[in-house]
Symmetry: C2
Subunit: 267 residues, 2 copies
C-alpha cells in the first residue's frame, strides 16, 4: 500500500512527532512518501532577509503568496534548506531511510492575477506554478527499494524555472500519479470544522461538496486537493491534525475528516 | 561512460556556464553526476544571519569551517536551498533532466580537533563528517533513466544528523562507488600551479605525490580527493578551472592538471 502524507508548513506543527509517526508507519510495511509545506519558515526567513512576505488576492478572492524572484529564492532556502533538510534528518533519526528530492515535480507557471487598488493586474514576474507531471519511475523505484522520498513544494517549469506550488495539491498529484491508496493531509487544525471557532466540531466524513461548503481560507485548498485526489482514484483522503502524537496512524484510524467520494452526479 | 563533475562553491565560479557545459556533455551521451560546493554562499548567508563563518585550524595545520549546529543549518540552507536549487534550475534550463538529491551520502561525524590559544581542544558539537557510503542503487537507477543527479556536500550520520562534508572528497567517493571513468574537479584556479602566484604555471600532469608537494591550502584537499579517486579505480582525474566556458569539455580534452596514477610502489 502506498500512502502519501502531506504535512503543513505552518507554525505549531511538531516536525519531530510527525517524522516519528511517518517512520513508524513506513516500518510497518507501508510505502510512504512525505510532501511538506514551508510557509512559516519562508515567512520567518523573508523577514530576516529584509524581503517580507506579501499576500495577493485573486479576482475570485483567494489569497496566496506573492512570489517574485527574490521570494522564490527565499522560498527555496526555506523549503529545501530548512524543511526538506529537517524532515530527512528527523526521519533518519527515527530509522526511516529518507531521501530529499528536488526535481520530481514539473508544471507550468500560472498566470497570476491580483487585485491591486481595485484593479485586476497580471503579475508577469510571479513564480507560482502548478504540478502537471510527476516523475513516477523515480519515486516508484525509490519506494520499491525501501526509501522514503521527501518532497518540497517546488516544481520546475519547462523553461527550468523553480516554482512555488501549493503543497496540498502537489501531494494530491503525487498520490494520483503513484496510484496511492491514501492521502493524509496533516494541518494545524483537527479537520474540517462545522464551526470554525470550535475545534471539537470536526466533521468525521464529508463529500468534497459538503467539505467545501464548510471550509474557509486555507482549508478550501485542502478540500480542493482532496477532491483532485479522489477524482484521480485515490480511495481515501483524510484531513487531520498534525499537532498530535501518532498523527498519521490516528488519521488512518478515523481521526480528522475523511473526504469521501461524492456520487458521480455530484462531481 | 560515467563522469563525476565537482564544481567548487567559491566566488568566481560561473554557475550558468558550468551548467550549460555539464548539460552539453550529458547530451553527448555521457552519464554525468554533479557534486557542488557551497562555501561562498554559506559565508554570505552566515554574515547576513548574524552568525559569521569561523575557521578552525587542526593540530596538523589544516584549516576548515567550524560547523556548530547553527552553522550546519545555515550550510544546509546555502547548499540545498541556494546551490542545489540553482544548479537544478540552470541544468534544466540547459535541457538536462537534473534532480537534486539529499540523502545519497552517509558517514560518521569526524572527531574534530582544533588548536585554540595554543592548546588542542576536541570540538564535541561540530557537524563535520566524511562520506563512507554512497547510495549506488539510487544514483545508478537515476543515471540509467537519463537523469542528472545534483548532490550537495551534505552527508547523514548513522544517528540521522546532517553533516558538512568536503565536496571534493565526496565527489571522489561518488566516482569510486559508481565506477566512474573520470572525475573532473572544477575550481577557481586553472589547476595545480608550479608557482602559486602565476596562473600560467599550470602543471599538465602530475602524480598525487608530485601534486601534493606543489599544492597549498585548499588545493591539498583536492589532491587528496584525486588520490582517493585514483586509488579507488577512477582512471582519470582532472583539476581545472571552472571560470571558463566549456570547462568540463576542456578539462576532459587536457586543460588543467591531470592527476595520473602513481606507480604502485609510490602509493
Amino acid at each position: 500500500m502506498t500512502i502519501v502524507v502531506k504535512v503543513g508548513g505552518s507554525a505549531g506543527i511538531d516536525r519531530g512527532a510527525v517524522a516519528r509517526d511517518v517512520a513508524a508507519v513506513a516500518a510497518g510495511g507501508e510505502r510512504v512518501l512525505l510532501v511538506h509545506g514551508a510557509s512559516a519558515a519562508t515567512d520567518a526567513l523573508a523577514t530576516t532577509l529584509g524581503h517580507p512576505a506579501r499576500t495577493i488576492v485573486s479576482p475570485s478572492g483567494q489569497q496566496s503568496r506573492r512570489t517574485d524572484r527574490r521570494t522564490l529564492e527565499i522560498f527555496a532556502m526555506a523549503a529545501l534548506g530548512v524543511e526538506t533538510f529537517s524532515y530527512v534528518e528527523l526521519l533518519r533519526r527515527a530509522g526511516a531511510p529518507a531521501i530529499g528530492v528536488f526535481g520530481a515535480l514539473a508544471g507550468p507557471r500560472k498566470n497570476v492575477r491580483a487585485v491591486e487598488a481595485g484593479k485586476v493586474v497580471m503579475l508577469r514576474d510571479d513564480y507560482t506554478g502548478k504540478v502537471e507531471t510527476v516523475d513516477v519511475p523515480l519515486l516508484r523505484n525509490m519506494l520499491e527499494r525501501g526509501s522514503l522520498p521527501v518532497l518540497p513544494p517546488l516544481a520546475l517549469s519547462p523553461e527550468g524555472e523553480g516554482l512555488n506550488v501549493d503543497g496540498d495539491r502537489a501531494a494530491a498529484a503525487v498520490a494520483v500519479a503513484l496510484g496511492a491508496s491514501a492521502l493524509v493531509i496533516l494541518t494545524n487544525v483537527p479537520g474540517v470544522l462545522r464551526s470554525v471557532d470550535d475545534p471539537t466540531s470536526v466533521v468525521a466524513t464529508a463529500t468534497p461538496v459538503e467539505a467545501d461548503a464548510l471550509a474557509g481560507g486555507r482549508m478550501k485548498k485542502k478540500v480542493m486537493a482532496a477532491r483532485e485526489a479522489l477524482d484521480g482514484g485515490v480511495a481515501r483522503v483524510v484531513i487531520a491534525s498534525g499537532r498530535v502524537e501518532r498523527a498519521v496512524a490516528r488519521a488512518l484510524a478515523g481521526d480528522g475528516t475523511t473526504i469521501g467520494a461524492a456520487a458521480a452526479g455530484a462531481r
